[in-house]
Symmetry: C2
Subunit: 198 residues, 2 copies
DNA sequence: CGCGGGTTTGATGATGCTCAAGCCCGGTGG
DNA sequence: CCACCGGGCTTGAGCATCATCAAACCCGCG
């Protein structure tokens, strides 16, 4: 059953009794997204966090030259949203889009407030989500400042081993901040067993 | 008077009556930091946010090769802390250090809680600080993914025109993710009036 | 004066981009 | 069933960006 997934996700950090579980589930809205459907786009205000039950999403910006820069992926069992727009209720700058057909559970900002009032533990839960977002962002910045593309790619594989299966290569390149061609060459080199120099 | 500065800083986003101002000020702790003094180091739990009354600080990590990577500067009228450690009360990974002799006003996590109870507006104020941190981080990631060092440097000058006066060049290079030598070359090129090509 | 740090300059080489072509492979229409 | 796309991945040649190393310079300070 679908709801098991999100309950287990939440119960990684807090524990709920049966009533709390039911109440939480009652606040969620299910939505199916076909590949390439936009869940959010710049200008809109982000009113929901989304929990991915199945499929894959990405969040990204498009720069003045029309190039796409991916900020995050979200596969099964991950949360995704534009945290900035969600918190501030100002217009988003990000796109959030389905990479593959997907199914998500949406929690609106209003329902989240209700949840906080009735089950204060959730304050803790979502605080932890923000912490993780902050840390991930910071770590990624440091990686970009200090490592080569090959190192970043290897670290990416360690950290998100399940991503490459669901996500086209050129999206991973965009996430790493390199061109698809160059990622391809890195992979070729690694496949030949060369870390870097023969 | 020193306290005027922080009051005006806070009142950019919320407005306080006289009692609230006094209460707020009573929770702050003044501290003077000599150049090169550490305000926070990895392993410690970050218990304070710091408002810079005067001088300059930086936050950074040191990678396995011993290279320093600067995450943020803080000059007069800025806040600085390790947001992750502060929120989660887990050990920090960052250093925070005085670049020049500095004077800060510290707000401890406990006093911050008191403040939230007595003057709930401050919830809003600190939420705005987190939003800004998130946005700045995101924007910087995108810049690093999409722009050359020269573009990043120019954008840095626009965004923080007052920083170069207080901060040694090699620190700016570290912030931008390039070597001091290369930053020097960029500056030479720009000084010659060449944006890039003759 | 001499020392030490930060910045500059130059030569050389690695890293990553651009452009252009080829390949693989799953659809789609005849 | 096959021919033909078209999108994504790969390959290669040539070029821009940026790092490394070493030396010189500049300047404040003991």
């Amino acid at each position: 059953m679908n709801n098991e997934l999100i309950l287990r996700n939440v119960e990684k950090h807090i524990s709920l009794n049966e009533d709390e579980q039911k109440f939480f589930l009652s606040l969620l809205e299910r939505r199916v997204l076909k590949k390439k459907t936009l869940f959010l786009q710049p200008g809109e205000v982000c009113r929901h966090s989304a929990f991915v039950v199945d499929g894959a999403l990405k969040s990204y910006t498009v720069d003045p030259d029309g190039k796409e820069h991916i900020l995050s992926f979200a596969l099964q069992d991950w949360w995704i949203s534009d945290l900035y727009s969600l918190i501030s209720q100002k217009p988003a700058i990000l796109y959030i889009e389905a990479i593959a057909d997907a199914e998500v559970l949406m929690l609106s900002r209003d329902n989240q407030q209700l949840l906080f009032e009735k089950v204060p533990q959730f304050e803790r839960f979502f605080r932890i989500l923000i912490e993780k977002a902050l840390v991930a962002n910071r770590q990624r910045l440091i990686d970009n400042l200090s490592s080569t593309a090959e190192e970043r790619y290897l670290r990416f594989l360690e950290k998100y081993p399940s991503v490459p299966a669901c996500v086209p290569q050129h999206n991973i390149a965009s996430y790493l901040g390199i061109t698809p061609e160059f990622l391809s060459k890195i992979r070729a080199r690694l496949a030949r067993g060369e870390g870097k120099g023969s």
